[in-house]
Symmetry: C2
Subunit: 344 residues, 2 copies
Amino acid sequence: MQRPTIKTIAQETGLSIATVSKALKHSPQVRPETRAIVIEAAERVGYELNMHGVQLRTGKTYQVAAIMTAPGPKQNEWEGVEYAQLLSGISWALEDSPYRVSLYAVRNFEESQAIIKQIVSLKKADGIIISGTRADDPRIRTMQAADFPFVTYGTSVHNAPHAYVDADNEQMIRVSMARLVERGHRRIALLNPLSDLSYGITRFESYRRALEVAGLPFDPALVAHGRLTPAFGRENVLTMSDLSNPPTAYICANEASALGAFSGFHERGLVHGRDAVINATDDLNVSQYFAPPITTYYLPISEPSSLLGTYILRRMEGEPPEALQTLLMPKLIERCDDRLTPKR
Amino acid sequence: MQRPTIKTIAQETGLSIATVSKALKHSPQVRPETRAIVIEAAERVGYELNMHGVQLRTGKTYQVAAIMTAPGPKQNEWEGVEYAQLLSGISWALEDSPYRVSLYAVRNFEESQAIIKQIVSLKKADGIIISGTRADDPRIRTMQAADFPFVTYGTSVHNAPHAYVDADNEQMIRVSMARLVERGHRRIALLNPLSDLSYGITRFESYRRALEVAGLPFDPALVAHGRLTPAFGRENVLTMSDLSNPPTAYICANEASALGAFSGFHERGLVHGRDAVINATDDLNVSQYFAPPITTYYLPISEPSSLLGTYILRRMEGEPPEALQTLLMPKLIERCDDRLTPKR
DNA sequence: ATGGACGATAAAAACGTTTAACTTCGTTGT
DNA sequence: ACAACGAAGTTAAACGTTTTTATCGTCCAT
């Protein structure tokens, strides 16, 4: 038995395939009674739309390309693990649509640039979702130049307005800094993402402004930029704690670097809460299991990811990008007082 | 300017589209000189194969469905994070092929079953990769009944032979147990995955056999089955350490539960290496950052994931499943002596 | 010379859908 | 009474491939 097509239904009902096609997509050109007959026949024979025919005819792919930057296979560091949840969130948001998530794993920025050019020029997808945006992101320019629907996880600074979802890094750092200063900290370290990433810049600028507001000096030795692995967190704690005037607080940009920071504490014999404290941003709800649990800004990854999904759908429907911009404020979860208990 | 098709090349060269098509796919029916002309013209006009035409004509989708079971969006526990690396590994393995990874995120086993039936019956992909296999897995039966190419991450017990990749859980537990027994442990806890998962059963059976070999009694109170979240690790340490005769070693099935176990240690005031030790399986190389670092069996996730990719390719080419079965032995990384230092 | 085989290319059909253009027929307005 | 119109369908073309079948020389054996 062959799989039924609209032709099958046409024969079954005595109508033409054109009418069947129109009936199935609720065209006003076909009478309700006729449509009912078609629907009935379709169900009876177990008809399912064959996307290949549609794709060839319409040129639409019904694919949303998710570009995932992950370090190469040799790189066995704990990085980018939140992508799993991100992808599933996007996938669920598209669940009731005809769109599917098509995965493009790339190793670095250049590759993502090349892939995006290819997707855009060869129309390998109808929409693109990217992350790891830069302040001035050439990929965004590529997609905008081709008028190609896309949503970014992360903002950009110098690009024309586009659809995005991001955590409110500016506010997060501002609040975080004020809270630490209020608790007596004067030397606060910032473990930041790579400095070409947009949110790295946002966080850094917010940090500097917060220092100014608090009347504290800026010390470049207390700021590190890098790939947010545990190794990064560990190494920076090791070097910064060796300073003559070491930090009493570390703000880590994610849970991986926070874990690494703990490892550095352990190595140096530092006690959390006595010698210094660690605060982090966490979207996997994992830092509650650290020993001790730490204060975090928690943004469940499911929120931005489902937004990314719905935004790309709406963007592909033609909604203007300005209407599809959201900054989400992570929730402060205070698991520590974060005041240092004086050594005695 | 329209995108060039084989028709464009046909006009350009004065040949028919049939000849062009054959030339491009290296059919022996076309003369080398003719082929050269076609290739030249194709490059000159910038021709790229339009997959939609191919798909409609041949019925092939050039999609590999990756079924990813992740807890629902409400469930904000750290679980399944290794999927990110797994997916990128698969994606890279398919890079030089015309195949793409199409992501299907599901919330539970039943959903994955439904999705697979759909993919198989509606030919929404040419191959499927699943994980979380059960001892007797109905999804495997579905795919085998339809003679549909697939590879599993994880073995099965009662199903007909199929392509799979897995860690050698039997050996891993056997070696792990022998090592702990040798170091004086008599009460060894097993924090195991859900008992309907194939590797949960493998691990459990290996555990029981190892106890027998060592002449140790089996105590059901020392075995827990569950979703491998940090919460699971934590809770089991809390309850097991309250036993009148608590375990002196915990074998955790992944890094998430090991992290949770540490959290339980912290809560109960247990010191790693004095009161008990934690060993774990780790495929993200993260447990080296625990405080203290623990002994783990490390299998870089890139290995199984790239194998999954190449296996599904070979399976789709018609290679028999028996040739596509691999158990990978994780590498023991001893970061602790794991002998208890006696309290004094 | 004739017929057959073969090698190289062309013609045409097919995959399943959408959609522009056309037909048919009943209704409406004048 | 008749043109104009609208509603509801139909016809046919098109999307870009692959593949079966047909065509046309050319070469070779008879």
